[in-house]
Each structure stands twice: as C-alpha cells, then as structure tokens.
Symmetry: C2
Subunit: 395 residues, 2 copies
C-alpha cells in the first residue's frame, strides 16, 4: 500500500530531471560585465553575465524594425520554431510570432532573451560561480525584473538596437515590458503588456510563496546545493508541487470541469475511487505538468524568478505606481483574459486607466476565453488580432 | 543566511503541535459498533466507533426541536460557547447559533458532532487501533461523507431524535447536510446547504490534492506514523503548507490586497524586500494560519477528511447527481457567497435549480461579501438572517 501510495503521490521517476549543462539549443550568447561587474538592484553584483537569445528576421539598416518579446516564468528564448535539441517542444508563441504572423518575422527583427536568473542559457543559479567553478545555488544574488531588463538592454546595445519598435510580453514578460517602457522610455516605441500587473498583488505573492515553501521543504533541495545529487535525489517533488500550485492558478475551474470533471485516473484502485490513494484524472494532469517542468527547469531558477515576480513593483523607489506609469511615453496595448484568476483583468485595466489619455493609439482589450491566465499563450488568434492592429496603429 | 532562510520559510516551532490525547474539551461521547462492526462505504469496517459531540438547549418531549449543525474540514463540535480547555477559541459559529440567535438554543436542541475521521474526540486516524493500541495512522480506512453521516445517524438514534427539525452546514458541513437529506429523507425536515457543492469539482480536487502531496512529502510524515516522533520531527511543515494552499482558496484577492497589499513583514532584511528571504506580510499571515492548524489538528485527519471531500459526489451509486437531488424532499435553503472562489455560487445555484419546484419554502440567496468562501463563517449577520427566515418559513 505504501509503495502504491508513493507511486500515486508523485509517479514520475526523478531521473531525466533538468541538470546544468543540459543542451540549450541553437541559441546565441551575449556576454557582458566582463570588465566592470553588473550591479544589481539589490546591491550585489555579477561578473561575466551571459544572456542567451534567439533572433528571427533581419535587422534593417537603421535598426528600426526590432521587436523584443519577453518570456514568462518558465519560458525561454524559443518564442517560435520547431522542436529541436534543447527545445523539446515548438516555440511557446507559435502562431503569434513568425512569418506572416502578427509579429511578422518577414517584417520585424524579433529578439527574445532568456531572463537573467533563468536556466536556459542565461546566467542563473545553476551557472558556475567564478570563484570556485561550482554552481551558484543559493549564492546567486536575488535579481529583479529591472535587473532582467538591464541585462536585455546590454544585449540591445550589442545588437545595435537603439530603440525597440515594440516590447511585448505576457505575465512576467509583461512585467519586463512595463519596466522597459519606464526605465528606457526613449528606447521603447510601443508597449504591449498582456495579462500582467503593475505590482505583484498579495494573492500572487501568496501563491508564489506557497510554491517556494514546498520546494524548500523537499529534503532533496538541500539548501540549493543539489546539482551533484544522484538523479533521484534532487528536489523534484518539491519543484513539481510548486508547479502544481501555479498550474491551477494558470487555468480555470470551468476548463478543469470540462476536461476532467470527476473522472478517475486509470490507475485508481477502486471503481468509485473510495481509497485514500485513488487518483482523479485532474491529479494525473497535475503530475504531468509537475513532471514536465522538473525535466526542463532548474529548481533554483524557479525560486529566484518567482521571487523576482513577487518583488515586481514598478512603483518601487519611484514614488509609487502612479508616478512610475507617468514615465511611460510609448503607446500601450494592455490585454486581459476575462477568466484570468491569477492576473485578473482589473490589473491591466488599472494600467490602461493611467495611460489612456496620453496617446490616442493606447488601447485596452479583453479576450473572452475559458483558458484563464494561460489564455495569453493559448488564444493565439485573438492575441494576434490585437497585436497586429496595435502594430499597424503604431506604424 | 541559511538559518535565516529556514526561519523565514516556516518560522514556527514544531513543539506545541497537536498530538493524540490532547484535551478535547467538555464534550460528550457516543460509542457504537461495539457488537457489530460499522461498515464503511469503501468496504472496510470499524469497531467501537466514538462520536464526540456537544449539545445546546433542551430536547422537547416529542424530540421535534433538534437541529443538527455539521462542521467543515478542520472544524469541530464547538459551534458556540467560550474558549475553554480544548477550545482555544470561542465557537466557530458564534453569533449564528446560541441564545436569541438565528439557531436559537432557547428554542432548539442543537447538536454538533465531530466527524468520523476527525481528531477532536471522534474516531479517526489518531485513535488507537484495537489490535495493538497504537494510533491507526494510515491503517485507518478511508471514510466518506456518507460514513460521517451514518455515524451521526447512530448518535441521533442514541439521543432519541427520530427526525431533525433542520440539518445545517457550510462547506464540508453542507456536503453532510445534503447527504443527510438524501440518505434519510424522512429524518430531515429542513435542509440548509451553504457554500457547498453536490460533488467536488476538478479544481477543488486539484487544490486538495496539492495540499496532500505537500503533507506527504514532509519527511516528518513518515508514512503516517509520526505520533511518537519528537516534538520537532512531525509533519508540521507539510501540514502547514497544505493549510496555506487551502487558506488562499478560502479568501479573496480583494481582501488580501486590502489587508496586506505589498507590505513587508517586520522581519524582512531589506527596506525594499530585495532579498530572496525577505517576507511580505501576506506570507506572515500564511505562517500564522499554518501554525494555528498544526497546533490543533492531526495531519492524518487533515489527509483523510480532505480525501472524503474529494470523494464527495451525491450522485455516486445513485444514477448521478440529478437522481440524487430528486431524493431530497425537505425544503432547502441554499446559500452562496458571491466572492467564493472555492465553492462558487453556481454550485449552490445548481442544487437550487433542481429543488426549487419541489417545495414553495425552498429558496436560494447569495450573500454579497468580500470574504470569499470563509464568508459562511465570517458573515454571521446575513447568514443568520437567511437561516432565521428559513427556519420561520419551515416552522
């Protein structure tokens, strides 16, 4: 019974979990802070910072057609393109970015960079500490959304991009896009902030915090020093549970009912599931998503990036959120998903209310969808429609 | 840093955690299944089952004034009354039940029993297994809401209560109330089901399952055998995390923003919280609720009762939910909290839609409140108003 229980609780083998040095695909790498350290908002600094990025399309002669797409929590630079080595799945915004799509790579030079603190090629907690060549782990300094943006600014400099035709992002990508428009108003000619907020709310922090606690409780976490652990001894359970918490907030009650209802998993022991260890289909779904993340993502990156989102507050050291929004000069598209329980529409409407008088091209739209927060990834048609109209308006 | 981190992650001492044998207050105890075992829905059976209960008021001569109140997940029989030994806080429905209140103990004989599987005096996983006198732990059989109700029916028999003037419950209490009206239509003369559902939804199961996994992952859980663990070695972290998941679903985004916003906890290390181990006030709130539960509740009971709720489906073995609702003959009050994200109003409206044609006294009301699911406990005034009107209508 106990074996079954363990099996049912978290059925995946830990082997196959993500490890530093796993292939990261055909990316390019920009390294900076080689002479002077890169100072972080929290006061620490990093040297020899690498930003992994991908580009699509061709930068025109005056470098005026570059669009930056910013990814979310566990995303990476692979916005579009087929699955390949290091990319077990096609791009995360397939259908929105690409040839002939809303963010048309025949027209625009599209850039996406893995965030600072990530684990898909950019410097993060799994990177080697220059002092001892061992992974940073918890020695990695806390990074903020602003630090991520400043790392991207260094990449923009290296690419010769003085200003972005547009900066676009959903969820944490939207936080970066907002910070870009506030930190570098002269470098952002249009801003699209989707399913995001001006500052993390208490509820968002609560969910994120609970996930972190689950990860930290896993004995395999070993205070962040698990990179040399045996394949079955890392913090995979904890990371999976953290992901499960997030996964429920990414979706909706309605979709869960439609997809799973009260269906039992095949492996359940009792026809009616009347067993402490029986499993409903929705639990198999949670396992699947926990498993998927464990195989592709570093637990410390999950922790650090989650904290960066909790710390997201465009108003910090700027006299508050209103003052920060006052700095934005770019025409701004804000997009909401009506069923988003994690970043509810009022958060994007709040941003819009502060910006709508500034520029006639600034607009807000709400996408009707049962997909919840993940709607920004899934509802490619209405997202594309809004983005292409906005890009046309801001031509 | 690491010590601070542990401290910040889960700051409470594990000592003071709940243990079997902790005082359970001035309750009465009904023991049954002393000669023939009590068969459970899942096929197992229990002998010498104890139901701990409290009563208020006086049973009249024809035993027609008895009202059963059913408690929720981590509730107990202490519906009303001051804090005392075994009851660190006053009753959980103070202001709704009592002298001169909606459920008037001057008029009604009010009964509340700790559920089967609980840890506040009724037989549960922390009870002694008759074979070896050691706590059942995971040897305890899975129990369902129907099993809880049949244990309460045995208590009703012992008290000489042929039929209840009303059965009232919120959340899991509402599940029991619904099952009472379906299993024993002749014994329920009025039914009040508050912030509850006819069957657990996939999303409810998902939340519950994630909490269970966190508990199971805690090394202190030790496959349910932690009753002899050192005070700091039980599954307190895991139980606390499970509770935190639930706590967020019990409340609302709006209230969290009002109460906590982005305020930092006093113990945060950085003025702006830019530290991996900084804490927002909402995280202190989660700690507080985790801590409180750990001190008063058995982890295995939490697990078993959570599973009972996941298994809640009035339609099981009855040809579906519609057929089950067709069995209800009692006039029924369904109550919703408009901001309830865990048991959203549509779930109570669904029940009402199936019952409203049956009896002119059947009614539905939605309470406007920012409190979320916990509104059924917190909003005593509108809950009382609805209950008193309903009790008057069904006089």
């Amino acid at each position: 019974m106990v074996a079954q229980f363990r099996h049912n609780a978290l059925p995946y083998p830990a082997s196959g979990a993500w490890m530093p040095g796993d292939p990261v695909g055909h990316r390019q790498f920009h390294t900076f802070a080689t002479e002077r350290p890169f100072s972080l908002e929290g006061g620490a600094s990093l040297s020899n910072v690498t930003v992994a990025y991908e580009t699509w399309g061709t930068l025109n002669s005056d470098a005026s057609n570059a669009i930056l797409v910013c990814h979310a929590w566990t995303g990476d630079s692979h916005v579009t393109g087929p699955a390949s080595e290091g990319h077990p799945t096609p791009g995360w915004w397939e259908g929105v970015v690409g040839r002939g799509h809303a963010v048309d790579t025949d027209k625009y030079f599209v850039v996406c960079a893995n965030v600072l603190g990530g684990c898909q090629g950019s410097t993060g907690p799994a990177s080697m500490h220059p002092d001892d060549g061992k992974p940073y782990g918890l020695r990695f300094p806390v990074v903020t959304i602003r630090d991520m943006v400043r790392a991207q600014a260094s990449l923009a400099d290296a690419l010769g991009i003085r200003s972005w035709r547009a900066v676009i992002g959903g969820s944490m990508g939207g936080m970066q896009a907002l910070e870009w428009a506030i930190m570098f108003p002269n470098r952002v000619r249009a801003l699209a902030a989707i399913a995001t907020s001006a500052a993390a709310s208490a509820q968002q922090i609560a969910w994120s915090s609970i996930g972190r606690r689950a990860l930290l409780m896993d004995p395999g976490y070993n205070e962040g020093d698990y990179y040399n652990a045996a394949p079955d001894a890392g913090p995979w359970y904890g990371l999976a549970i953290a992901r499960m918490v997030a996964q429920v907030t990414f979706r909706t009650d309605t979709r869960f009912t439609e997809k799973f209802g009260r269906q039992l998993s095949d492996s359940s022991l009792d026809a009616h599931g009347i067993d402490l260890f029986s499993r409903f289909s929705v639990e198999g779904y949670l396992d699947h998503h926990g498993d998927k993340l464990v195989r592709r993502f570093d637990a410390n990156s999950y922790l650090y990036i989650g904290k960066a989102m909790d710390l997201h507050d465009i108003g910090r050291s700027r006299g508050g959120v209103d003052q920060a929004l006052a700095r934005i000069t770019a025409p701004t598209l804000t997009l909401s998903i009506d069923s988003d329980i994690l970043y509810p529409p009022y958060q994007q409407e709040f941003i819009h209310q502060h910006l709508r008088e500034k520029d006639s091209r600034t607009r807000h739209a709400t996408i009707e969808s049962g997909e919840g927060h993940d709607g920004f990834l899934v509802e490619t048609a209405p997202v594309s429609l809004q983005l292409s109209q906005f890009l046309a308006d801001t031509e």
